[in-house]
Symmetry: D2
Subunit: 345 residues, 4 copies
């Protein structure tokens, strides 16, 4: 039984980690921090957890925390993470960081999109935690950088095509739609119910910080640097990301050939589900689960493919993928604690 | 490993049963019927289940079905159930019926609110499947009548007060609110997204068919016949019932005394959670789970209590409670397969 | 052409006033204040108004504002209003106050539910601005206290019954449901999209500040002091209140008699619509409009009536009623600027 | 005072026409047909209209209808429209057809995407009713083909760029998102509240019937045949379309230059609102109104533009644009009856 800590347990990602961990047979949630709610039970802030955990939220005192857990999830904003992670590592702990701080290989790129990086020495070591691509590296890692929600859906959606060399990487356009939980639990006018409900909008057009992460990983798969048009949108729903990705075809391919490509590529993967031929994903069919559902349509009229990928942004896009990484790092069954069936309807 | 069948697997209650059963370690889903979708995989109708079950929907041919399962859930409309259940029982199978057909003890009352009853001979035998009240009887039952969603929330909300003799049964008013999944999955204008979203309404004011069920069970607890004012409302959400129940106090009681009453009454119950003092339930904190969260406010200004009870109508209000009954009937752990943590947010 | 000012124009009630006023032929919006957004155009904060008004938000400097408008709406929180209204009146302006500060006749009652009152000398003069009950008094008023949203629906719902002496005032229970816009536009975790969407809850059970206002006005209609059980609930929708009100019958009445009572009582009223017999209101059918839709069901089984009343909380429950009051105060057509047809679907 | 008829008044588009027409000073709604609800008042089906119109729904008997109105809206499905429109024209009536039957110039293209066309002789005469492009032709028209909802947003979004020759027409990708009202009011499982709420999906990927209409009109503006990648998505909201359109730049342009281009292009247009620089549209800010809000972002990193356009699909995307066309055809003020301010929040 491993002891697990969550740094930043009162945000949506933090409590989602708790939801998964309290149903995980091989680990125990022993530490949960929250500056704002220190001293209160997590289950008092989230009555959904009542009767499932009596963990008490506490302030972040690293030297104290490290005594009481073997692996830590850092579910805090970027910049905060880089201030905490090095100390956790120094104490000999494993870390899955859910912020952006260790995802970007190139510190200059990071600093161009975010701010100064004060823990650059860990960038080389940090493994980009997409198990479908990096499983072996994750196994031995001390520090895993858990991928962003948008990048997860885009990269899993494009990987088979890029590996097969079917699409032109310079033509990739990712039009992505997310539920409001992606914006977190901070009080803010922009994410009030009345501002979001019954409406739909684009935001950060051409300037969202997931762009360099997407380009870095797509570039690796393509074997060349790429720029990607990436537009996020806000959907009036709580959970879910659906990414619609367009790319020009480099050669003529048939629909069946592409269907087979995806089936083969993801055959062994427990959490990626290519859709039945002719059908497309919907976020409601992955809600609450760690699945990524994918379909790829060959549009011969326009000589493009349209890839549609759906995840629950809080699960495969954050906490679920983090638990999957934890399982791999600790040598547990990769699917342990992740058996939740999607909640539909 | 018990083999389980679902008659009526393509409605919301049926697929919810499937969601719970595919994660249940001690049973196997071997039969699932649907007239409309016979021949297709359940997971093709509900891609949420893709990779979790390959059960194929079939038409209802009782003599054939009974060969392949030990216990059946009948998740079909009232009147349809009474045409199927007797044959299942005759074949020696156990049955949890989720319709209203075997909930009402008195056939005349049933016929006044529904239609002619053609299987009255089973009314005496059928056990009203509210485990918190009837656990012992359920243990030995062949036929369990799974309670209605509204009645479940109201009865669990009032039971401690009625048993303690604190409230006047003739003053009970139950103002109840349900998500749209309670209306089922039939194509209908009234439950289209555009008709329900962004609006709120009362329906069947003073005439909903759950009324006699509520009055029957409240009457048993009160030890006298009662009439209850019951008004259902439609909330623009998919899952959840919140019942707000008013009753006049027979004697002066303090808030702490009532809090203690609920804590004591439900101390041993795995699925009833009295709220922390001073807090009230919300449907989002039970979503997807088998919990019933309850609070009771003493309002000395008006000499009344206000009881607020929340359930997920598809779980504790239908499929979850049915699985709980199945567990009891089969001698399994009562909570087996019901460990889902509420999905919040 | 009257000049009109809105003090507190950037909240939901303020912008709703602006929405109505920019389409009002007889008035001009000349002043709009907002501490937070001073210096910006209102249409920049609410792009819905782009092209309809170029009014610039400004800080509240009463001596300056009063030069530029004839009548002011004060759409600010209670306690703030009492600090501004006296100065507006002193400058000879008419005021429609949308806060609670001048609704309660008895300063002691106000202070028991709110806080100290520092402008008690205006309580006698302030007219409770429910045109259906107080039209004549509003005509000559300098200061109108615009009713609360919940009280408006409850009082209009019960007035015919109370005037006819059919119900027992001590038995009134008002179970009310509101959209999230009632909570205002302040950044807050409790009203984030993810906290409200897909859920339903009761709040301030037995302690909501609209209680004394409801009891005061019901008491006047009943001709005796009354206490009322009042429970507000939060519906996952933006606009709308639906109140379900229960009361015991003092004598036997038939459904047709009660239908006729409501039709007669509201025959001349432009904004109250008794429903067609046998039908009930829904908030979506009044959305965006100044209507109050009402139905009353006689339930002879329980010897009670169930009254259901629906309004748009931002219109008939706030800004629309305020404009209706303004029209009466200024001698304009009472329905001017209020011709919006409900937005359904 | 012109007399107006609506053929197909009980669908969402039909009732939206009624909502606009009952507030239009220069016309009177004299005819409203509905096979399903013949004999009932429209206001009984849509209580939102109670007190605003007493028009009674009737079956479609063309020779009878034409006696009682000067202009007809045909708000019926494609294929039904082509069976009715010729008779209306033959009786000397003007027609605004809201179906797809007269939008496609080339009958072969129509028949490739829809079905056989039985009224081809009117295709030449029918004017594509986008006032911003075809105002002069609409003035003299007998038959106006009201544009589709998706095409309206895409064409208005791209017109300034295409006219200016800035973008490469072969690179256009339109990723579009619509509320559920676009699917109409027919009973259907796919548009039930529980199927749509809380989820997001793509549909008809690469095969939606608005494709040829988009390509036809874009082709005219581009002066060359074009194919367009068009992917519609279903948003869990009732009203609104937001289209995100990508295109490659043919030359280097600055953001300010493009902002000026849109401002100039739409300066005289009453219903197109270029957004304030640096801001983007949201459907909630056009809800219920006839506005189209547009922003165009120059993304020099990728050498593309991203155009975002928002409309209310039932208004500028259907009924509002139809009334705008009617106003032009009848020589009325183009904005008459269309002064509704967007309902936000």
């Amino acid at each position: 039984m491993y002891k697990i800590g969550i740094v930043g347990a009162s945000g949506y990602t933090g409590v989602e980690l708790a939801r998964l961990l309290v149903n995980h047979a091989d680990v125990e949630l022993t530490v949960a921090t929250s500056r704002q709610y220190a001293g209160q039970q997590l289950a008092d802030i989230y009555p959904s957890l009542r009767g499932r955990t009596d963990v008490v939220l506490e302030d972040v005192v690293v030297e104290d925390l490290v005594q009481r857990a073997d692996l830590f999830f850092t579910a805090v904003p970027h910049q905060t993470a880089m201030n905490i992670v090095p100390a956790l590592l120094a104490a000999g702990k494993k870390v899955v960081d859910l912020s952006a701080d260790f995802r970007i290989d190139d510190a200059e790129v990071y600093e161009a999109w975010y701010q100064e990086h004060i823990a650059k020495e860990f960038l080389d070591e940090a493994i980009y935690g997409l198990p479908e691509l990096n499983r072996q590296k994750i196994k031995g890692a001390r520090l895993v950088a858990n991928p962003g929600c948008y990048p997860t859906s885009i990269i899993l959606g494009l990987a088979p095509l890029l590996q097969a060399g079917i699409i032109e990487p310079t033509t990739i356009i990712a039009d992505c739609k997310s539920g409001a939980s992606g914006a977190g639990r901070a009080a803010s006018v922009a994410t009030l119910f009345c501002e979001v409900s019954g409406g739909f909008k684009a935001y950060k057009v051409g300037s969202h910080r997931h762009t360099p992460e997407i380009e870095q990983e797509i570039g690796k798969l393509a074997g060349q640097p790429v720029t990607v048009s990436f537009t996020p949108h806000l959907v009036p729903m709580t959970r879910g990301i659906l990414s619609t990705v367009y790319a020009g075809l480099l050669k003529e391919v048939g629909q069946e050939e592409v269907d087979r490509l995806y089936d083969d590529y993801y055959r062994q993967e427990p959490f990626v589900r290519p859709c039945a031929p002719g059908t497309f994903p919907a976020t409601q069919f992955v809600r609450g689960s760690n699945y990524c559902d994918i379909a790829c349509k060959v549009d011969s009229r326009t000589n493009r493919v349209v890839v549609v990928a759906a995840i629950d942004n809080l699960v495969k896009g954050a906490a679920g993928q983090a638990v999957q990484n934890m399982n791999i790092m600790l040598g547990l069954d990769e699917g342990a604690g992740l058996g939740v069936v999607p909640l539909a309807p």
